[in-house]
């Protein structure tokens, strides 16, 4: 089956090419068929190849296929080689399967849009790039996918390009992630200089021979690679672009800014785990950044009005959990949470998109309300996503994935009490803002009349994703009950076992606390937004709370900070120098020449006797000099 590996990315690419060149000439129906069909086919190929991969695990647990040599200079060579191992299989599964569902949803969602073909062309290109990213066997090819998804993200955020705000959001997304990418590029140079290759498996095999554990060079390399991941995955301090990226259509937010692209950083760190494993400092940095981000973004999500911005901050926060897991060494837990998160967050975005469309592009949750009975399908599916996000114990997939991370953040080799406490607080906050979102959107009085309800093509993907959001968690059950480890067993050929500390308290205690945190958060949301909304009014009178609310609402003022520190100075410096100061040097020379000429031209008076005087004086001078010497 490995012969067909190339088809997985090639089908979306084919779809992109058809739509880009012929999109103008074919009917909208054909556009939908090509656009969604290519991804569905790709998903089918993925199932076939993945099935073969799982049933007969190949020798070294990896399928590789070299297509051609990209370029070769001296001792550097980069091949276009795809490789499928368990880690990339999980990602490919999420990308093609969820991608196919989102594409089907989009055929209905984007129906009325003028640029139907452009939308699907960009989406297909995105899926292609993302697949290249996760299937690449060397870092350079991965970088190609990495930048490719950035481009598609730019195109799709700015899809409705006539509004300047969308263009600005798109530009911001590209530029901020590019900062991380530049650092990552330097990381690649370091890897090549030290390892002499960019092929992931070769780096992995020789990592401990190349680098001393905890040496400066391995730490710097890891941190540079991490910087790329931070940009793409919207983690501190490069998180500011993701909330603005919600300017794109909802399916885009679901696919790119929730399920797949933003988790590229997680993939990168997991893929390069051999390097991170060698540097304790780098892992600590990963964990701390993850913890800080999950808390910060969670608190921000509590204060947002726009339903998509709540989900965006929630995405940042959940990816923070994944980074935390990576940092403490719980590699499989991070990837597991990635997969579950992809299901429920894509679901939440798609459902939110359906709501927004039905309410005539109303994003503000405070103007929604009362949708429980009017949009039952959306309500129930949204609920499934929400309990998964809030990690309601036992019944939701999110519980199984997040509980693992909470447990490991204390008990794994890199874990400690502070990280655990932060993660637990995050769980409480998550439950609180999820409940708030649910109540504001679905309960209470209706504030906006509903337009048309979503059709079958939109609800079907919601239902499928809802099923996964509830049941997908059962493939990996905690050690103390069930101890069912299908998912981590699958990944263990690629990712190492989590290294545990000695003498840790019972896992039951942690699960109890996590469940309590979730339930407490739900209760808080229920209490403040359903039972006693007047309490919120009371809170609003407190000056400190208002200040804090404003601070959190602005995303901890990061935008203002960067604006003042980086953007404004850059624009200022660049604008004052518009005329190019170095040119003054040359215009200065030209001006001096002009002045000299004016000076000398005064001697050209036309008076013959002055000329003769000059002649004589010159002759005398020369004679004088000759005699003197």
């Amino acid at each position: 089956m490995d012969k067909f590996l190339w088809l997985i990315p090639a089908l979306p690419l084919g779809g992109f090419l058809i739509l880009a060149f012929a999109g103008k000439y074919i009917s909208r129906k054909a556009v939908a068929i090509v656009g969604a069909g290519s991804i569905c086919l790709s998903a089918l190929v993925m199932f076939a190849v993945g099935g073969a991969f799982l049933s007969g695990m190949p020798e070294n647990a990896v399928y590789t296929q070299t297509l051609w040599t990209w370029f070769e200079v001296g001792d550097f060579n980069a091949k276009i080689t795809l490789s499928l191992d368990a880690l990339s299989l999980v990602f490919v599964f999420a990308i093609t399967f969820i991608g196919a569902l989102i594409h089907i949803y989009s055929t209905a969602f984007m129906e009325a849009d003028r640029d139907y073909a452009r939308f699907f062309a960009s989406m297909n290109l995105f899926v292609f790039s993302m697949l290249v990213l996760v299937l690449a066997d060397n870092l350079l090819l991965m970088y190609l996918g990495w930048e490719g998804v950035g481009l598609c993200s730019y195109l799709l955020i700015g899809f409705w390009y006539e509004q300047p705000a969308n263009g600005a959001a798109a530009r911001k997304a590209f530029t901020v992630t590019r900062i991380g990418d530049a650092a990552m590029a330097i990381g690649l140079f370091m890897v090549f200089q030290q390892a002499g290759t960019l092929v992931v498996s070769e780096i992995g095999a020789n990592a401990s021979a190349i680098w001393q554990p905890n040496s400066t060079s391995v730490t710097i390399t890891a941190l540079l690679l991490l910087a790329g991941g931070l940009g793409k995955s919207a983690q501190l301090p490069l998180q500011t672009w993701l909330p603005d990226a919600m300017a794109g259509p909802s399916p885009v937010s679901a696919l790119i800014h929730a399920a797949t692209m933003v988790t590229a950083g997680v993939y990168l760190v997991a893929r390069m785990h051999t390097i991170f494993a060698l540097s304790e400092t780098a892992r600590l940095v990963v964990a701390v950044i993850g913890a800080a981000t999950l808390l910060l973004a969670g608190l921000t999500a509590l204060t947002q009005y726009d339903i998509k911005r709540v989900l965006a901050y929630s995405t940042i926060s959940q990816i923070g959990y994944m980074f935390l897991a990576l940092g403490v060494g719980a590699w499989t837990a991070a990837v597991f949470h990635f997969m579950i998160h992809a299901f429920f967050k894509a679901l939440l975005f798609l459902a939110a998109g359906a709501i927004i469309e039905s309410l005539h592009h109303e994003h503000n949750m405070f103007k929604m309300g009362g949708l429980k009975d009017k949009m039952p399908v959306v309500f129930w599916t949204f609920l499934a996503g929400a309990i998964s996000l809030a990690a309601v114990p036992l019944v939701s997939a999110g519980f199984y994935s997040k509980d693992q991370i909470l447990w490991y953040s204390w008990s794994a080799g890199g874990g400690n009490a502070v990280l655990w406490a932060v993660a637990l607080a995050g769980a409480l906050i998550t439950a609180a803002y999820t409940t708030r979102m649910m109540i504001l959107t679905f309960w209470g009085e209706s504030h906006t009349p509903i337009g048309h309800l979503p059709g079958r093509r939109m609800t079907m993907p919601l239902v499928v994703l809802a099923l996964f959001s509830v049941f997908a968690g059962f493939i990996e059950l905690p050690h103390n009950f069930g101890h069912f480890t299908l998912f981590s067993d699958l990944l263990h050929p690629v990712l190492p076992e989590t290294f545990m500390k000695e003498n840790i308290p019972s896992e039951w205690l942690f699960q109890l606390l996590a469940a309590l945190a979730t339930l407490g958060g739900i209760f808080l949301g229920y209490y403040y937004y359903y039972q006693k909304p007047s309490r919120i009014e009371n809170l609003r009178r407190n000056g400190l709370v208002v200040q804090l609310h404003r601070f959190w609402f602005s995303g901890w003022a990061f935008d203002a900070l960067y604006d003042r520190m980086l953007v404004k100075p850059f624009i200022y410096i660049s604008s004052i120098n518009k005329k190019d100061i170095t040119d003054k040097l040359y215009t200065g020379i030209a001006a001096i020449t002009g002045d000299m000429y004016k000076l000398l031209s005064r001697t050209q008076s036309g008076s013959l006797r002055w000329y003769i005087m000059g002649l004589v004086a010159g002759a005398i001078l020369i004679l004088g000099i000759q005699i003197m010497l």
Partner: protein, 506 residues
């Protein structure tokens, strides 16, 4: 003989065009097109014959050689030769020549005969520069490029053309004279050492020069090439010349004339003054990095589209000089790629600026906006080349910048770190181009037609090339390899020799 043909076909075409221009306005463009196409086919024929796939594989670096005595009493000969590097740049010359003729097709309506005469004459000069293996002949071609370009800007340019033409002329002429002095200096030093007075490149490269004079001679060459490239403090002629030149003029300036500077450094400066080059490497690379950042920042503030693109050239050429002075194979291959891909990507952006100007009659990006709606084709192509200029993987420029940075990293990591900031700045200005021109609300409600067939042909050729170079760059790398490895080997031998004779420096 093939090499002589390349130049004569252009020169004959030029004369024919000016003669035909007396009778008809349309015949000259056909003559020019035919001349360029013949040249392009000749280059392809040479390439096909000498590539490993073709029949005769030459053993060394040089593929073809033609030599005739010219002024024997001064040791001047008419000596042309090509290696892989020259061949690539020649192919580029004729390819862009065809495009330049095509893009002037309707734009030029006055004095067409003389226009195409100048155009072809510049191309002849550029082609000569890439082939000349006699320093006198090289200087001759160097000047041949200059004067028709002066006319091209000065006669067919836009409002401020005379100023721009003068500035271009004075910068290049003054720096060219310094180079000529350096050539003469080299000529006499070699003559005094060996008793053979010759301008022949191959004999002059072996000259042993005291370090101090080597440094001054190198400076003479370097200034001429640095002005042409342009390197940071010498770049100020470029925005003016680009801004005012007609579209084809900008295309040739960006695509070819700038490349002669880089070619000169690779061909003459590095092999002739290896020791001085080694000494000057770090300052030169720093200048390159300054150019990368300065050009990008300047590009961000420009409102005139062509000036903006001109500053992006300054930024990209910063990569070239940084790469040349890294003096290893990775970086030098990157430089060769950068020469080719920058010519295509920046050339395309200039062509697009010209096409937009024909439609909107302005170069001010403040007056554009929302053009994606009426011109989706131009929008997508514009996006491709904006992405090329920010170095998106999958397009040619990425390979170039990646190899340069990777090569420079081996030599001087900190310089790479500074240069990599160019990746961020290039994103900033490229997205500004796309945003200002194609996105946002419409500023004018005029109807603007999308690409015509001829325009589509030009842009399609460029797009296909840049994507091809991004995905299959190996043929270019293989073609340049003998020249580059020879250069690197030469530098290594030099430094090895120096370690045995440390006194040479005194």
């Amino acid at each position: 003989m093939m090499l002589v043909l390349l130049i004569t076909v252009l020169m004959v075409g030029a004369v024919a065009a000016v003669v035909a221009g007396e009778w008809s306005r349309h015949v000259p463009r056909w003559i020019a097109l035919v001349a360029c196409v013949i040249g392009l086919m000749c280059v392809i024929a040479i390439w096909a014959n000498t590539s490993p796939a073709g029949g005769s594989v030459p053993s060394g670096q040089w593929l073809l050689d033609y030599r005739k005595s010219w002024i024997p009493s001064f040791g001047i000969s008419f000596h042309l030769a090509v290696d892989g590097l020259s061949l690539l740049l020649l192919a580029l010359t004729f390819f862009l020549g065809v495009l330049a003729v095509l893009c002037s097709w309707d734009e030029i309506r006055e004095r067409t005969g003389f226009y195409y005469f100048n155009l072809l004459w510049i191309l002849a000069g550029v082609a000569g520069v890439f082939m000349a293996m006699d320093l006198f002949l090289f200087y001759f071609f160097w000047e041949v490029m200059l004067i028709p370009m002066y006319f091209l800007i000065g006669i067919w340019g836009s409002e401020n053309r005379v100023y721009a033409a003068y500035k271009f002329f004075i910068f290049t002429q003054a720096s060219g004279l310094l180079m000529f002095l350096a050539i003469l200096g080299l000529y006499f030093i070699h003559g005094q050492d060996t008793g053979i007075y010759t301008f022949n490149y191959f004999e002059l490269t072996g000259t042993v020069i005291p370090f101090k004079s080597a440094f001054w001679l190198m400076s003479g060459f370097m200034i001429a090439f640095a002005v042409k490239l342009p390197v940071f403090p010498f770049h100020t002629w470029l925005p003016d010349a680009h801004g005012e030149a007609p579209t084809a003029g900008s295309l040739i300036l960006a695509g070819l004339l700038l490349k002669t500077g880089a070619y000169g450094m690779l061909r003459f400066v590095v092999p002739m003054f290896p020791e001085a080059v080694r000494e000057a490497a770090v300052p030169a690379m720093v200048l390159g990095v300054v150019g990368i950042i300065y050009g990008a920042v300047m590009a961000y503030s420009q409102t005139d589209l062509k000036r903006l693109v001109a500053f992006t050239s300054v930024s990209h050429m910063g990569f070239v000089i940084t790469g040349i002075f890294a003096l290893n194979e990775l970086a030098l291959q990157g430089v060769v790629m950068q020469l080719v891909t920058h010519a295509l990507s920046t050339g395309a952006l200039f062509l697009m600026a010209g096409m937009i100007k024909e439609r909107l009659h302005t170069r001010d990006i403040g007056e554009m906006g929302g053009l994606w709606g009426p011109m989706p084709q131009m929008g997508s192509i514009g996006l491709v080349f904006a992405m090329a200029s920010l170095g998106l993987p999958g397009l040619g420029n990425f390979i170039a910048e990646f190899l340069i940075l990777l090569g420079v990293f081996q030599a001087h990591p900190w310089i790479t770190v500074a240069a990599a900031s160019g990746l961020i700045f290039s994103a900033v200005y490229s997205l500004r181009i796309v945003g200002k021109i194609f996105l946002g609300p419409r500023k004018t409600m005029e109807t603007v037609p999308d690409f015509s067939f001829r325009e589509m042909l030009i842009m399609a050729a460029l797009t296909v090339s840049i994507v091809w170079l991004g995905l299959f760059p190996q043929p270019v790398i293989d073609t340049a390899r003998p020249a580059i490895t020879e250069l690197v080997r030469f530098m290594d031998v030099q430094s090895a020799a120096l370690q045995h004779q440390p006194y040479v420096k005194q």
